[in-house]
Each structure stands twice: as C-alpha cells, then as structure tokens.
Symmetry: C2
Subunit: 503 residues, 2 copies
C-alpha cells in the first residue's frame, strides 16, 4: 500500500502531495487556490486549535468575531499595510445576481456596491477602527482579543496547506497603554507559539526577529518561529508583530493616560495558520506516509480486528470494543485517550496500512490467538512497520501511556537533532554560494552568517540572495552577539542571521 | 444602572437592542449588515458550539472545511436553489487592487476573474460537487460531514444576531444510499437541535415541518424548530432538510448500489446559526438585562469583593480568589464550574449591576463582615435583584450546584408555560383576524388552525396572511391528525399548522 507514495529522496514535493493524498488530509477544490480540508486533516487542526486556544485564554485573551468584509477606505489608511496586501485582495463589487437577457446568471448591474469591499487578508484595519471607539482612558487598556477565522490572500502558485488563497488561522490583536507592555505581549505570544510547536507538534522552532525586508506590512518589529523541513528548507510557522503606534495613529486609537495626557495606544498582532499542518507533515512524515505526534493525533491508538475464516466476527469486535472502552477511561497528558476500532468492511491488511498512512501512533492487532491468550500484538508508527511486541492485556494501559510519551519525546528529539546537525556557520560569500549551489536533491542547511543591518536595503546584496534562491529567515533571539564581518558588505557587525531556502 | 434599558412593555425592539448593548454582546460594524461579536457574546456562542459539536460528533459526523468562494456555475445547477439565493449573493469579481491615475485604490481592471465567485450563502453546491467525486459505491456511503463557518446572505434590514448579512453557523451535509436512511438522518438532527435548545438554551421549541412555501430552496422536506419570543413572535431557530435526489442529480452524486445498479444518493443538510443568541435573549431576558441559562453562561458565578475604606483590598481579593479556586474544582453538568472574581477598578455597586446586565446566574458579594463570619451573601439573577441569602462557606459548593440546576430548570419551565399559555386554537378566519389586528404593544399568540395543503399555493390566502403580517410557521410533528375545516379554503383537512407573526 505504501508504494503509492513517492520516496522523499526521489521528489520531495511529490512526496508531500502523496502523503496528503494517502492520509486523506485535504484536496484541491474547483476554486483555484482554495482547499477542501477533509475529516482527518480537520481533526488534526481542531486539536491544534484546542491546544492553542487554551493557551491564548490562559494568557488573558478573549475570543471575538469581526466581519469578513473590509471597506477599501479602511485598508488605505496605513500606507505600508495597503502596499503589502493590495496585490492579493479578493474584491466584492456586487451584492446580487440576476439572470440576464441570454438566460445567464450574472452579477446584477443594479446591485453594484458604492464602495467595494475586500475579503479580509488580515484584520488590523477593521479591528483598529473598532478599538478606536472602545478606548477612551488608560483604564480601558489593555484590550486583549483573538479570533479564529478564514482569511483570503490571492495566491498564484497554491500548494495544499502551505500556500492557499483561503486559509484558516487565529489572529490576536491587542492594544496597550505603553510601548513596553506591548513589546512584552509580542514576545509572550511568540513564546506561546514556540510552546505549541514544541510541546504539541514536536517541531523544534527557532525564535527570531525578521529583518526590515521581511517585516509584516506596517509593523515596527516582526518576530517569527522558523522550522526546518526534512529537505532543509525553512518554513515560517508563526509570527508576532509589535506594531508600535503605526496602526493606532492610522485608526485613531487614542486615550487619556495616567497623567491626563492624550496618547496613542501601542498595538500588537500575532497569528498562526493551517500552514502548521504543512510544517507537521514535512517535519515528521516518512516514505510510508504521515507521522503524527500523539498529542495532536485524532486517534492515538487504532485497534484492528484480524478476522479469519472460522472466527466469529461479533466476538472479535466485542473484544476490541471492550479494549477501546477500557483505554478511553484513561488519561494521557490530561486528555482522555483517543482510541478507535477499525470496523470498516476491508481487509485487516488494508486497515493496517491505512493506520500507517494516516500516522496513527500505535496499532493493536487482535486475532483469535491474541484474544485467547490475552496477549496483544502492538506496533508503533515510529518503529519498523513489521515490528510487533506482545503485551499482556493487563499491562496494556501503562504500556500505551508510556509509549505515547516516548513517541512524543522521540519525535521532538529526532527533529531537533536534524535541525541542529543541519545548521552551519559560514564566514565567506564563496562558502555560502557553495552550500546553495548544489542541486535540489540534496538536503539543504540553515546557514548562520554575520549580516550588517544595511545589507537589507542594499540592492546588490538582495540580488545575490535571490540568485541563490535563499532569504534571511531571522535574527535568532539566542544569538551570542559576537562581532564578525558581514559576508556581503564586509562591515563589522554583531548581527547574525539565519539564511535558508524557504517555503 | 438598569435604567439604561427600555422596558419590554414600552418598546420590545428597543429593549432587545438595549439588552445587547448593556451586556456588551455585539455591535454593528462599519460594514452594513455585518456585526462585531464581542467577548461576552462570543463566549456564549463558544459554549453553544461546544455543546452542539459534541452532539454532532456523537451522532457519527466528522468536521471538515470547504472553500468560502463558490463558482457561479455551481449555483446554477439546482434551479430552485439559485432562485432562492441569487438575490442575496455577495459577488467577488476582482482578485487585486491597484492605485489608479488619481491616486485612488480601486479593483484592478487587469485582475477581473474569468468567472465571478460568490461568497457561500450555504454550501450544498460546492459540497455536492465534491461528494460526486468521493462516492462510487454504496460502500462509500453514508457520508456524514459538518462544518462550522461564516456565510453571507445580503440583508437589507439587518438586526444584530437575528438578521445579519454575515453570520456564523454550522452546516451538516450527508449523503445516503436510501431515501429512508436520509429521512431518518433529517429527523435525527432535528432532534439534536431540539435537545440543544431545551437542555442548554432552556428554549422550549416546537418541532414541525415547513409547508411548501417555506421550504429551503431545493429541499423535498424542510423541518424546523420554532421558538416563541416574549412578544409572542415566532423565531425559526434551526432547520433540517431532506433534499431527496435533487442535489445528487444536479451534482451527479451517483453510486453503484448493492444490486449493482447505478443510483443517485439521497442527501440532507441542516444548520443552526448565531441567531440562537437572539432567541436566547428574547426568551429569558428581562427589563434589567440579559438572563443566561447556567449551562451556556460564560461565568456561572461572579464573586464581587465589597471593599470599604478601612479594608485591606489584598486580603479581600485573596479571600475571593480562594473561594473561586475552590469552586472551580467542582463540576456541574459534567463541566468544571465557571467562576469569576471581578477585580476591575470600579465600585462594587457597578460590578453588581454589570453582573445583572450580563446575566450571570449567581452573584456572591464578599465584604469584611462576610469574610469574618464565613457567611456569604448570595443572590440569583432570576430572583429579585435585592434578595440575598446568607450561605455558610462550608455549604457553598452544594448550594451553588443545586441553585444552578434549579435556575436551569426554572428557566425552561417558565418559558414552556409562557409558550403553552400563549398558544391558542381558532377555527374561523374572523377569530384569526381578531387575534392579529391588535396593536403591536400586545403580546401575540401562536395560533393553531386547520390549513388545507392547497392553501399554500392559493394567492388570495397568502395575501390574507400577508395582510395580517403572519406566516405559517410549521406543521407540528405532534399534531393529533384530527380532521377539521381549513379556515381559508373551507376544505376538510387533517393538516393543522401554527401561524404566528415572526422574526
């Protein structure tokens, strides 16, 4: 069954698509760039949502919902913001359809909007407008809100989960009385994302600040978590922005401070998207299909009845159901275990490979022999697929709990080792060229270099990066701050950045 | 504080708006017809979602996500469907903005979509298209899916929660191998909605079938739950549709049945929306503000520190926090108690009225005296606001649990009594005219009448109903089926319907 998946070494991009297809996570829709997220993919997203939503509320934020459509004039108010998003906006111009004289359904010429509306690419503008009316005094601050919703950024080269015109995300928006408070908030939410990535998705991310070129349109500082995929490319997995007073000045979020002076609020915004599912796939999965960290696996354990010709299917299913029900009373990581009995009318062989391709962490196969002996045949998604261990039924509970913990840890460790091993430092432009001139079948590294701040606005430097098809991913927050020579400008600088090829 | 709310007897519509404003549930946005759902309103919606999502999964459905945008040609395929929705569709025609020669931001004339896209008013069309590709054999059926999302139906006379151009909902879509199975599904989900309304929202709804005129565009049967608001008007609170083979024929959802014959699938769809919040408000709230059934109250208990001049605020807040933390370890209705300490820098009087206006079921006021005596001052949102009982701290837990149960039950009973008392039967057109010719300040009843099926297509009957500003709400499922004379056509019929003025 696993042969339907192209090996990573052969064609990584095709492998990615194959994993999605074979795990039945999502598919392209008839609307260009917009995907259909199928039950298994959506169940993973729901688990990510649940984990993150808890953390967002734990840090004092409340959920809200703002309109999908944004008037053009809102967008225009922040110059950098409109510049950044205008080219990707889907525009609503009519509010009715009619059948024309040829019997064709068309937008009604009598129902043209006086002002076109755009589908939100992000909501700083419409939320800024509302915050302005909510805030009068420092007593009204901070405002700490978040929404889970769909957004639209027209995409010319769509790829499932990684780049889709419509995607799902959460966007947090906060307003504060002081710059310090807003900066603390920005980094606090970056830490929340880091925690989500590591603790749930088992993705070791690198926290860093974006350089000027890569900042969110309208932000003063943009922070990112960057993850290394198995082909060595970087994937930006979440961002948190300190917006300074740029948006509060554009939308007039003004308040009376403690000294009775008028001031503009300091705002932040931060978001992660369904792209995380793409990151998840490319971090852990293998040539047999999806691999899921147990904490975000919709089924952590699948029980497969192996029914032979002379067996009683009813007895077997009843036995499996009993095991499931017993396991479901257990907790792992403060959640009830998620256990599934596969009773579909397909062969046990098919069920086994379905569980493999869908990344279910633990499989239990139950045949007549196992039933009679009270000895279960257990295998792990992260072990060799043919390797089974026999577990006495009375030891199953603790074995499952321990094994899930061990899988969760191992996945993070393995990915961390991979990322660390493939992160190198180079100190000359020739060395950098060397690294990134290899053909696409080689796994690429993250490369740490000294990079003078002025290089970001230097056209020739940017052209060199472009020619190597790499970009500055971030200034890691854990930099040592040691001086060195910028590879491009030859200026001395303490600023080190990570460069990489990126998704 | 409560004086900011117009009494129901004076102006019910204004009262409704005032309750929303004073409870800070939602507000109008700058985009006509689109609302901003604020933290308190959204927290209620999240609790409704959580309850319903559990029931939807419990009945075997899986969540998915389909694209927001739908190609025009999809809509065209089902004639009744397009007829029903064309007049309310927001249309996307461009995918980029640009700055024109006058420096104005406009939809780019170079980025016109070849085929306009509509924002989903509902998703039967795009889901039908996908199902067609998923189903080959009866073994692929049933398909049982659901999505939580935003939809858009352009609204000329918007009202918060009740009629908004954009609203949030869940839409379930299923496909089955037989008509019987699909019909069972349709009624099963109607029962789920009935259960949600009664058990969580404490709204006693009437289950019934819509007559032909009121059917969902494209449905064979539409079932509804209808609720009576305090002004006696009906509110359609949820619908479940048996679509027969109409959509499967339009979208070619075809399969090989057990007899190796080609057949079209039988489909259903069903949904409830943020309108439920409107129903909730108009069922339970009073002239002091919102009243919330405990099961969907974001805070079930609020603790208010009453700090006087010589008191130590730290001690008081610590004492309140301790009570909160103790209560939060308790469960009520299988959920941890939701308890809040109001530590805002406002007066205890203000906090008290805030809790009243927001509908928090139980308030605990804690002053120095209460702290010293270990005797807490507890009041209920559903009792007279000035009525407090003193509860020894060691009895608090059981008192709270019992009181929440009692409030939940009482709200349903009270609303049921109101609905039953105000449901009458009339047997002549004159009597019907009498009932609905009273001025708007009177509370209106639901009226049960005999109504021959042919009356639905009789223009003069429909004009009579329109003149009385009433509509046929449903054919209740619990009708006795006794024969009678249709008020309008004078024909003998066993069909009884409820008519009412409606939202």
């Amino acid at each position: 069954m696993a042969h339907a998946i192209t090996p990573r070494s052969e064609n990584f991009a095709q492998w990615y698509q194959d994993v999605i297809k074979e795990a039945d996570l999502a598919e392209n829709s008839s609307v260009r760039g917009c995907m259909i997220i199928k039950p298994w993919g959506f169940a993973i997203w729901e688990l990510v949502q649940k984990a993150l939503d808890g953390m967002i509320k734990e840090t004092g934020h409340e959920n809200v919902y703002f309109p999908l459509l944004i008037p053009l004039r809102f967008l225009e108010k922040e110059a950098a913001h409109v510049e950044g998003f205008a080219k990707e906006c889907a525009v609503v111009t009519h509010y009715r359809l009619e059948t024309n004289s040829e019997g064709k359904l068309v937008p009604s010429p009598d129902a043209i909007l006086q002002e076109p509306l755009i589908i939100r690419p992000t909501s700083e503008t419409i939320i800024g407008e509302a915050m302005a009316s909510w805030v009068q005094s420092y007593k009204d601050l901070p405002i700490l809100i978040n929404q889970w919703c769909n957004v639209m950024r027209w995409e010319m080269r769509p790829r499932l989960f990684l780049r889709t015109s419509e995607f799902l995300w959460q966007e947090g928006h906060t307003a504060h009385a002081t710059s310090e408070e807003a900066q603390i908030e920005t980094l606090k939410m970056l830490d929340v994302y880091d925690d989500l990535a590591r603790s749930y998705l088992a993705i070791p991310v690198i926290k860093g600040e974006k350089t000027e070129n890569e900042r969110f349109p309208g932000a003063v500082h943009t922070y990112t978590i960057e993850a290394m995929m198995q082909d060595g490319k970087a994937l930006q997995a979440g961002t948190s922005h300190f917006l300074g007073q740029n948006f509060s000045k554009a939308y007039n979020i003004r308040f009376t401070n403690k000294d009775q002076q008028q001031d503009f609020a300091w705002t932040t915004s931060w978001g992660v998207t369904t792209r995380l599912i793409g990151a998840l796939i490319m971090t852990h999965s293998d040539d047999e299909g999806l691999v899921l960290p147990p904490r975000i696996a919709p089924h952590q354990v699948v029980i497969i009845p192996v029914i032979k010709k002379d067996d009683s299917p009813e007895d077997m299913v009843a036995f499996c159901t009993k095991i499931r029900d017993d396991l479901k009373t257990l907790h792992w990581n403060d959640q009830p275990l998620r256990v599934h009995v596969d009773v579909k009318p397909s062969s046990s062989q098919d069920k086994f490979w379905t569980a493999v391709k869908k990344g279910v962490p633990i499989r239990i196969e139950v045949g007549k022999r196992e039933m009679d002996a009270g000895l279960l045949s257990v295998s792990k998604r992260t072990g060799p697929s043919k390797e089974r261990v026999s577990i006495p039924i009375q030891e199953l509970s603790s074995f499952i709990q321990d094994t899930l913990s061990q899988i969760q840890e191992t996945l993070l460790e393995k990915a961390s080792t991979f990322c660390n091993t493939n992160t190198i430092t180079v100190s000359s432009l020739e060395a950098l060229r060397d690294v990134f001139s290899k053909d696409e079948t080689h796994s690429l590294p993250f490369v740490k270099i000294h990079y003078h701040p002025s290089a970001d606005q230097d056209t020739s430097v940017q052209e060199t990066l472009k020619a190597l098809k790499i970009s500055v991913r971030c200034i890691p927050l854990d930099n040592t701050g040691q001086d060195g020579i910028c590879l491009f400008t030859q200026k001395s600088t303490s600023q080190e950045v990570l460069v990489a090829r990126a998704y």
